[in-house]
Every structure is written in structure tokens, then in C-alpha cells.
Amino acid sequence: MKRRLLSLGSATILAGLFLPLRAADERPQGKARLSPQTFKHFQQVIRTDYVFRWRCLPWEINPGEAAQKAAREGKPILTFGGHDGVPLGFE
């Protein structure tokens, strides 16, 4: 009985020691954690706009100005954007 109480006590102490650690462990650790060491890595993982080649095109964003330019240069207007936004802004 005494031995059982001792082990229960030890378990409680151990639980007391490790519970806060376990709570903290809910967040990612090491390389999966955002830190000064992993900052650039995650920037590169998230920033992927380089695949969007249309961003290099000379866009107009104002219909009135686009019309004036098209009339002046004798060119048609191509529109790019829908109800979900414009892929140069919200994608």
C-alpha cells in the first residue's frame, strides 16, 4: 500500500512536471515552429506568386484610363477579373 502511494505520489510529481510541457507541445516544435531560424524557410513556402506570369504584364486598373489609352493607341481592351476578384490583387 505504502509502495502504491509512493508511486502515485511520484506519478503526480511527474505529471506536474510534464503537464505544462505537454500543453506547450501542442504548438509545432523545432523546424516546424516559426522562429528566427525558420522565418525565411516559411516565407519561401508561402510566397509562391512567381508562378503567376501575368503579373509582369502592363495592366491598367481604371476602366476610364484604359478606354482613353485604347482609343489613343487604336487597340482592343482585354479584361481580366471576375466575381471572385482580380488575380493581380486577390487570388
Binding site: 509582369c56 486598373i61 484604359a66 478606354a67 482592343p76 481592351i77 482585354l78
Partner: protein, 313 residues
């Protein structure tokens, strides 16, 4: 590969040249791939499809539109200024606040394993891009008038309020399960903190850290067991800001936010190929070009006074 990635990759050098020299390109939500004259006559209608429809930059279609355009009389191809649609002059986007700040945001959902490796998440619709606007007063409020190394202060609440309205928070995760961010997390609050890391006569270096808990409610979820929300995403922030005291503007504003998505109740969502489902956002200064002056999506779809409001709901 997402639809928009496919559309982007269809742009070869020759097509880029064709677009640059033969077209006026209008980034405006009037439809994908619609070709029209300066006077508003439609030459080719917009393409069907959700998102940047494939075919917007199809060279054969672009050449066909040019051939049709050239058959039009000169007056249609080059109308007089007074013949241009008057309503177009009133159209256009709001412009960034004078003296304020424009940040460019990228968002992406992915699986994150214990080694820090990112894995694809098929439920998401590819990377997202948006902008974050601040007024001049908001920018100035981020820099203490007499900064001392080691000082720290809470990031103003309007930052979290504004970010909660961002569609990329949900769309990056969404796929077929769109959701919305609740205006307030019922259990946690933001701990975002700015710290003064270095001060010199010319510059103030600030660090941003802390967390921003967001709670989401999904649309059309059956058998809900958590009426207050369906999943949590507590973003951990880390950032480096540099303020030029002479020019009175930020010259660096690099932030990264990573949030592990935690399911509540019975809500189910697709899993990434490996690792834990994670939503990531980066922030950086925009380059000031025309295309980076497009307003934030949540501003275009609400009133400016709501977007810039500091009032907590």
C-alpha cells in the same frame, strides 16, 4: 495544379509580347478574357468558369479577336474621347490612403510535418494574394515617439480586426468547404506585441511576435456540435520592421504568420498529403506599382469606413 496556375503557365514569351503590343490590358472584375473596343463594343464575350478561366491568354483566341477588331471601322477602333463610355470614368478602385502603407499578403494552406517540410493540400485552391492598407495615423501609431531598446507594447487591435476580414484566411483553406472568421474568438485574445529591438538616429527596428487566435464557422455543415464555431486557427506571428526616421516611413515590414488548423466538434475537412493542416500568411511592403495599388478584397466588398474602423464588434 490550380486553374490559375494553369492559366499562368499558358503564357509563353510570344503571347506576352502579343498582349503587350496589341492590347490594352484591364485588370477589373468585368469577366475573364472579354475583348472589347474603347467604346464598349464587345468583340469576344467573357469566358465561362470560376476563377481565372483557362483560355484568357489563349494565343489563337487573342489573334481571332484582333482580326475581328481590325475589321471594325476606324471610328470604332479609335473613338474620340467624348465618345468613350461616360460611366467608365466613374468606375475604378479606391486609392490607397495618402501617407499610409500598402502591404502585400500571400496566403497558402499546406501540410506541415515535424521536420518543417510543407506538403500539398488538395483542398485548397492554390496560393492567394491580397493587400493590407493602413492609414497614415495607423502607421505612425506603430512607432513610439521616443523609442528605447527593450520597450514593448501591444499591437493595436485594429490590426487583428482588419485581418479577421480577410478572405484569404478562409479561401486558402476552403476548397469545397468555405467558411467565415467569427468576429471574436470566444476563449482567446490576441497577444501580438511590438518590441523595440534597435534604435539609431536614422532608424528604429521593431520585432513583432505573439499569437492571433481565429475561430471559423464553416458554411453548410451538418450535425454541428460546436455552435460557436467549427475550427480554430491560432496564428503565431514573427516579424521584422524597420522605420526610417528621416523619411518617416517603413522600409521593411516582413511578417510571417503560421496557424495550425484545429478541428472542433464534428467538423471534418480534407487532409493534406502529410503533416498537420496549416495556414500561412506572409506580409511585405508593396512595390508601389499600379497592380499593387489594387485595394484589399475586403475593402472592395465593404464600405471603406468599415474596413478602416477601429471599433470592436
Amino acid at each position: 495544379m490550380s486553374t490559375r496556375e494553369r492559366a499562368s503557365r499558358s503564357l509563353d514569351k510570344e503571347t506576352v509580347e502579343l498582349l503587350k503590343t496589341q492590347y490594352v490590358l484591364l485588370a477589373y472584375p468585368w469577366g475573364y478574357g472579354k475583348v472589347m473596343t474603347a467604346g464598349g463594343k464587345v468583340i469576344l464575350p467573357q469566358l465561362d468558369g470560376h476563377g481565372p478561366a483557362n483560355g484568357s491568354f489563349d494565343p489563337a483566341r487573342l489573334r481571332k479577336a484582333l482580326a475581328l477588331f481590325r475589321q471594325l471601322p476606324q471610328t470604332a477602333r479609335q473613338p474620340r474621347v467624348e465618345d468613350l463610355p461616360a460611366e467608365w470614368r466613374k468606375a475604378g478602385y479606391p486609392t490607397p490612403p495618402k501617407g499610409g502603407l500598402v502591404l502585400k499578403l500571400h496566403g497558402r494552406a499546406f501540410g506541415l510535418d515535424d521536420g518543417g517540410k510543407a506538403h500539398p493540400f488538395a483542398g485548397a485552391d492554390g496560393p492567394m494574394l491580397d493587400f493590407f492598407w493602413m492609414t497614415e495615423a495607423e502607421v505612425k501609431a506603430l512607432v513610439p515617439p521616443s523609442p528605447r531598446k527593450g520597450d514593448s507594447f501591444a499591437m493595436p487591435n485594429w490590426f487583428a480586426r482588419r485581418l479577421r476580414g480577410y478572405r484569404m484566411n478562409t479561401e486558402a483553406l476552403a476548397g469545397p468547404l468555405a467558411g467565415r472568421v467569427l468576429s471574436r474568438h470566444s476563449e482567446k485574445t490576441s497577444t501580438l506585441t511590438l518590441s523595440v529591438e534597435e534604435v539609431s538616429a536614422g532608424e528604429v527596428h521593431l520585432g513583432l511576435h505573439g499569437s492571433l487566435p481565429l475561430r471559423f464557422a464553416a458554411w453548410d455543415v451538418q450535425n454541428r456540435r460546436v455552435p460557436e464555431g467549427d475550427y480554430d486557427c491560432e496564428f503565431e506571428f514573427l516579424g521584422y520592421l524597420t522605420y526610417d526616421r528621416g523619411k518617416e516611413r517603413f522600409t521593411r515590414f516582413d511578417l510571417v504568420a503560421l496557424g495550425a488548423v484545429k478541428r472542433l466538434g464534428s467538423f471534418k475537412r480534407p487532409k493534406p498529403e502529410a503533416g498537420a493542416l496549416t495556414n500561412g500568411i506572409t506580409f511585405e511592403l508593396s512595390n508601389g506599382t499600379v497592380v499593387e495599388s489594387i485595394p484589399p478584397y475586403s475593402l472592395r466588398n465593404s464600405q471603406a469606413q468599415d474596413y478602416f474602423s477601429h471599433e470592436e464588434p
